[in-house]
Symmetry: C2
């Protein structure tokens, strides 16, 4: 049992944990539980419960949470979720064995995780990889959009699924002509990036113009990351890319036009392999 | 003599070489020679001559060029000039002892060198750091400017000293109103970034508008690099930043507005310490 490690991921909605055998890379179990209350105490308890219920550990009713809290001898490392996911993909997924790689994730938020020289690069203060908060300027101009972080003009304010859905709802309510309301039977709360993608696929002008903008911004951001870091592989993850084929086409077109010729040589853009478990698996495998 | 190493830098105009004692970090000598002819043979000869004339080596009339070419036993490593410069600043200059650092250079061209985890990061194919060829979009819009690399919209096409001077000449010849022609006594061949900076300092509207654009683009590029990589120190080098105080102010303003709050914490922007010798000194100190 000595080589087992636990990775835990505390998201906005769920806590998730994986138990991984560090020696073999074998993922013993992955558990998920809703985070209904968000105080530190409540979250600690949920993590403890997630671990408690891991059947493959053979643990029952072990007070693991307090044990971690009290026992300073237990190694605990805190990393950004996408850094952990990048490390998971590097160790067991789409970048297995690749020493220069990046994970670009476009889901409800936007971010990245960077593998440099075979190591996770988390920066001087552990906050490297915040691709979603690099600043962008859309083709159509206009005032920079407000991001959840409080700044304006962040990539996430344009391309993150939450902000995207919020924007589409606002623009439709303000009278934009589109087939999107029809696709959601008039319930604008059901608008997601994937719905916009279906509208774009049938030629909806509003959706296509929005996708041109978002595809350009995402493709340029990926191109610039590659031009700067010269990775051998870039892993694309998250529903706004993997669940939106029309958008992904535009992202790849913009990327190919904008990346420097020298950094483009030999780089591959591939889909993530581990899905939502990448983070907890990666966290368990980190040194 | 066993710990002496030679770094050579082949620029567009000059060849430069340094002899450095790797054990002590002592820079024994730095030599420079014009590159009048640019064939590989001619350049190899100039490098050999530069080394030949290094007095502190005590070498005279040694056929070193052919010796390097023939003797495969001699370790030779080729790196990008700004990567070498970043390593020089990391080992002996403005980022001495700093494990997470970047050099951003704005001279006739624009580029960067990246130090990650205390190592030079040169990427999967040795072309990392090409900040000058990341793509940007200026506030004022307009068609993306053509870069020397053949692509459009590169940062270097807006902020590199050569392209900048070329643009100013074109716009003045096309009738832009400015005091710049006066500052160069009507000889537009004398236009440089530093002249534009003097015009901006006295409130010239053309120069100020140009500087607003260039300062915004450079400041945003530096902010985005920092947001992505989370370095502890960023070294600014090159005449277009270090010789242009008005522009530098605008770069720092745009940077401070755009960088993510978490990556901004604890990062310092400092001027380069080694000047034009950073590259050859760094090259000599590379493993």
């Amino acid at each position: 049992m000595a080589s087992l490690a636990i990775g835990a991921d505390l998201g906005g909605t769920n806590a998730r944990a994986a138990v991984v055998d560090r020696a073999t890379g074998d993922v013993r179990t992955v558990h998920r539980e809703r985070l209904d209350e968000r105080s530190p105490e409540a979250v600690a308890e949920v993590v403890a419960r997630v671990v408690l219920n891991a059947p493959n550990l053979g643990w029952r009713d072990v007070a693991f949470g307090p044990m971690v809290a009290q026992a300073l001898g237990v190694p605990v490392r805190i990393v950004n979720d996408l850094s952990a996911a990048a490390w998971g993909e590097r160790q067991l997924g789409a970048a297995k064995g690749v020493d220069e790689a990046a994970l670009v994730f476009v889901g409800s938020g936007v971010g990245s995780g960077l593998i440099v020289g075979g190591q996770l690069h988390d920066g001087a203060r552990g906050v490297a990889g915040e691709l979603g908060h690099t600043k962008v300027r859309p083709m159509r101009g206009g005032p920079p959009r407000l991001c959840g972080c409080g700044q304006r003009g962040c990539l996430e304010a344009y391309a993150g699924g939450s902000k995207l859905a919020e924007r589409v709802r606002e623009e439709l309510l303000a009278g934009a002509a589109s087939c999107i309301p029809e696709l959601v039977q008039g319930d604008l709360e059901q608008v997601t990036a994937s719905v916009v993608d279906r509208a774009a696929a049938v030629g909806d002008v509003y959706a296509r113009e929005l996708w041109d903008e978002v595809g350009d911004l995402l493709g340029t951001a990926i191109a610039n990351l590659i031009t700067l870091l010269n990775p051998a592989r870039v892993i694309l993850g998250g529903g706004v890319i993997l669940g939106c084929p029309e958008l992904e086409k535009l992202v790849r077109l913009a990327y190919a036009e904008r990346v420097s010729r020298s950094a483009m040589e030999g780089v591959e853009l591939v889909p993530a392999a581990l899905g939502e478990d990448a983070g907890v698996v990666g966290a368990a495998l980190l040194d």
